[in-house]
């Protein structure tokens, strides 16, 4: 339900500001301010969790300058390293793009489902679904690169699509809420992975650990020179464009958005809501499957048990990017930079990577509560547009 303020309300007495911001600026402003706020709060957390600096603060009465300068040193060296590790040199940039690749694809997955009115919590399971099929293709077949790699990628897409469509099917046929089914399917996928890694099909011969065989050279995404970043990032960006085109330039995309906006109206207009749910979840699953596959074929080359964590970040990315492919790409680049920078921060400034998780969570919190950011920075609300994407899916 939208809560639009009736025009007679006293809050509206103030005259509107002369300077009007475009929606695009507004869409960037809130996330940027959220990032800034999150870095500030993250810095405070850093100060109070570092034993030495905290001790300096404990005796702040005796030597206030010391406490302040120590805090400044800590926070500036940490954020300096964070920036250095994300953008400071070609290797850092490579790491940022590398970390962004699966995030872009998984973020697109959640965003696409959002557009069709579906809350896809199951990216993590779909990632596993995609890796199970693509890895099999990648280590079993023996083909030249130009054939092997595309087949492996398609297999990954299909594996994820299959896993995603289960939830879509359940929703369409039985009305089972996709939030519940996708969460459950995550754990089913996780346990399937653990199981398969112990079978001779996947398990590396001669080992008793649950570690898969390595994917063949001919199925690996070629990297750029000596850097770890590989063609996966190009694939991800191309996919983002395709998703944008699909959503905003095709009838299928129109159907997705129509069903997402109002399933009853869409049905009245003659669209198949059930079919749309299944197709949207299949495509979303396929994108997640591709996320797992790009990471598998581009970076790690083998599977091990456990969630990779991209699927959960993806939910945040879809919200941060306002469920728009471009927004998702930007948000994923931000998170990728944070991830890449985190390693450097840990290495040279000695600040644990956990603080990055805190910062990411704070960004989400500030973005999800735009009223809070407005309150802090005294920005007047322009319209109800920005809360739409976030609130609608909950209200369905």
């Amino acid at each position: 339900m939208k809560t639009e303020t009736p025009p007679a309300e006293p809050q509206e007495i103030e005259p509107p500001r002369p300077r009007s911001r475009s929606i695009a600026v507004e869409a960037l402003l809130i996330p940027l301010l959220a990032l800034f706020s999150a870095l500030v709060v993250g810095g405070i957390v850093m100060i109070f969790t570092d034993p030495e600096v905290a001790r300096a603060w404990a005796s702040v009465g005796r030597n206030p300058g010391n406490a302040i300068s120590m805090s400044w040193d800590l926070v500036s060296s940490a954020y300096g390293a964070l920036f250095e590790g994300a953008f400071g040199n070609p290797t850092a940039l490579s790491e940022t793009l590398l970390a962004s690749t699966p995030l872009i694809l998984a973020g697109l997955s959640v965003a696409l489902a959002f557009r069709a009115g579906l809350f896809n919590i199951g990216a993590e399971g779909q990632i596993i679904g995609g890796m199970l099929t693509s890895s099999w293709v990648a280590f079993t077949l023996d083909l030249p690169l130009v054939i092997h790699l595309p087949i492996a990628l398609i297999a990954g897409f299909l594996g994820g699509a299959f896993w995603g469509s289960i939830a879509g099917f359940l929703k369409a046929r039985t009305g089972a809420h996709e939030v519940i089914t996708t969460i459950m399917l995550n754990f089913i996928a996780l346990n399937l992975l653990t199981f398969f890694l112990k079978t001779p099909i996947y398990q590396r011969p001669g080992r008793t650990d649950p570690l898969s065989k390595e994917v063949a050279e001919s199925a690996r995404l070629p990297s750029f020179g000596d850097y770890r970043v590989n063609w996966g990032i190009v694939l991800a960006l191309l996919t983002a464009f395709v998703v944008w085109y699909l959503l905003f330039r095709t009838t299928i995309g129109f159907r997705f958005r129509a069903v997402g906006a109002n399933p009853k109206a869409a049905a009245y207009a003659g669209m198949s809501v059930a079919g749309t749910y299944i197709l949207a979840m299949a495509l979303a699953g396929g994108l997640s499957g591709l996320a797992g596959t790009a990471n598998l074929l581009g970076v790690v080359y083998s599977m091990s048990p456990g969630f990779l964590g991209y699927g959960f970040d993806a939910i945040a990315l879809a919200l941060l990017g306002r469920t728009h492919p471009l927004g998702v790409v930007l948000a994923a680049l931000l998170f990728g930079a944070l991830r890449a920078g985190a390693l450097q921060m840990q290495g040279t400034a000695g600040v644990g990577t956990d603080i990055i998780v805190v910062i990411q969570a704070l960004i989400i919190m500030f973005v999800a509560a735009p009223a809070l950011v407005r309150e802090i920075y005294r920005i007047r609300a322009r319209s109800a547009i920005e809360t739409d994407a976030i609130t609608k899916s909950w209200a369905s």
């Binding site: 603060w57 570690l211 990471n295 080359y301």
Partner: protein, 379 residues
């Protein structure tokens, strides 16, 4: 007018909020002050060792797997080995945590660039990354915990001159624990469960079962084990991860409900759920694993019959010491009862519960295993 009400509420809310922030900040400051003061004495003790010889230019490093350095399991135990080395020799240490498998390679690279004198990696997940780094940097020293290299393509065991593979014959120690448990149980039923069905977990359970069976055949007992049977490894009881303590609690409640009175959880922190379950039930006891439970989780010490110790910290410490003294040799190290790489913890609170007979028998058994007179494997 409803709007006035809202505005008044908002102002009131803002005032309240300022007060809350102020209060929160003060509480936080006090809390930090309290924590910081407690920390002070421990720090002062750390500097003593360094005075004799200056090893501060020696840097020992670790890369954790995805569990992180505070996993109450092997990452943490391996790190303790580094910390002990820091206290003992006054060396510098550094640890890098990995959030997911993508981080292994850059973390190892980062440590190589920082000129670490030895790099300790933990667990089979890091196997590939460690092998690649060791091959590319033959002048760097590595040690990997819980892993033995194997070349899948050639189908043969391999090793590197610059990597020490730290593995543990945990079943030897678990054998002793199984014997003690079988000799102490009142219901005649023991229980165990694991986190994930992987060799480094099941080796505990195999040893535990073998020890129990050895007790049965020596003393004509008929103690049984719930949750694991070496003959049917797929039928074992596993919670599915090394994190969710609720699962540990549930599994333990089920076991206790089946008249089991001694449980051995082999699932890292999941075992804390078992401790809670046993504490609530008011009966039964636990066999802790990896470390002496009475040291690592003191608060539950009165629940621990004993612990199967896998002394990864000692192994890591030794590897660092060897690297420091230029005595490092690559290849396989296996922690056994003989070299004290594994062992069982003292009985602590159960000192009076465990009979003297059992205590002497366990001592004899330990020697027999070392001498090879008793084998802990199946059969």
């Amino acid at each position: 007018m409803p709007g006035d009400g809202i505005r008044a509420f908002k102002e009131e809310y803002l005032r309240m909020r300022m007060k809350w922030f102020a209060a929160l900040f003060m509480v936080l400051a006090l809390f930090v002050a309290a924590c910081a003061e407690e920390d002070e004495p421990t720090d002062a003790g750390g500097d003593n060792g360094a005075e004799e010889t200056d090893n501060s230019d020696f840097l020992a490093c670790q890369v954790t797997d995805t569990g992180g350095v505070d996993d109450r399991s092997f990452n943490q135990t391996a790190y303790k080995g580094l910390e002990d080395a820091e206290d003992e020799f006054g060396i510098e240490i550094q640890v890098l945590e990995s959030q997911n498998p993508n981080d292994f390679e850059p973390n190892i690279q980062s440590l190589i660039q920082q000129d670490c004198d030895i790099i300790v990696t933990v667990g089979f997940l890091l196997g590939d990354a460690t092998a690649a780094a060791a091959e590319a940097n033959p002048d760097k020293l590595f040690a990997i915990v819980d892993f033995d290299f194997f070349d899948a393509d050639a189908g043969e065991d391999i090793s590197f001159d610059n990597v020490k593979e730290l593995t543990f014959a945990t079943d030897e120690a678990a054998f002793l624990a199984g014997y003690v448990a079988a000799g102490t149980t009142e219901t005649g039923k023991l229980g165990t469960y694991g986190g994930i069905n992987i060799p480094t977990v099941t080796i505990f359970m195999d040893g535990f079962q073998a020890g129990m069976e050895h007790f049965n055949s020596e003393n004509g007992g008929d103690v049984v084990l719930e949750g694991w049977d070496s003959a049917n490894p797929e039928g074992g009881l596993f919670t599915g991860d090394f994190e969710n303590q609720d699962n540990g609690r549930q599994v333990t409640e089920t076991l206790l409900g089946e008249d089991v009175d001694i449980v051995m959880p082999v699932a890292g922190p999941v075992g804390l759920g078992s401790a809670a379950a046993v504490q609530d039930a008011g009966e039964g006891s636990l066999v802790w694993v990896d470390t002496d439970g009475c040291v690592s989780v003191e608060e539950f010490c009165d629940l621990f019959l004993t612990s199967v110790m896998k002394n990864m910290d000692v192994a890591v410490f030794t590897a660092v010491e060897e690297a420091l003294n230029d005595e490092f040799e690559g290849g396989l190290y296996t922690g056994t009862l003989e070299n004290e790489g594994v062992g069982i913890a003292p009985f602590h609170e159960f000192e009076d519960t465990v009979s003297d007979d059992i205590k002497t028998q366990v001592e004899e058994l330990r020697q027999q295993i070392i001498d090879g007179e008793v084998t802990v494997g199946q059969g």
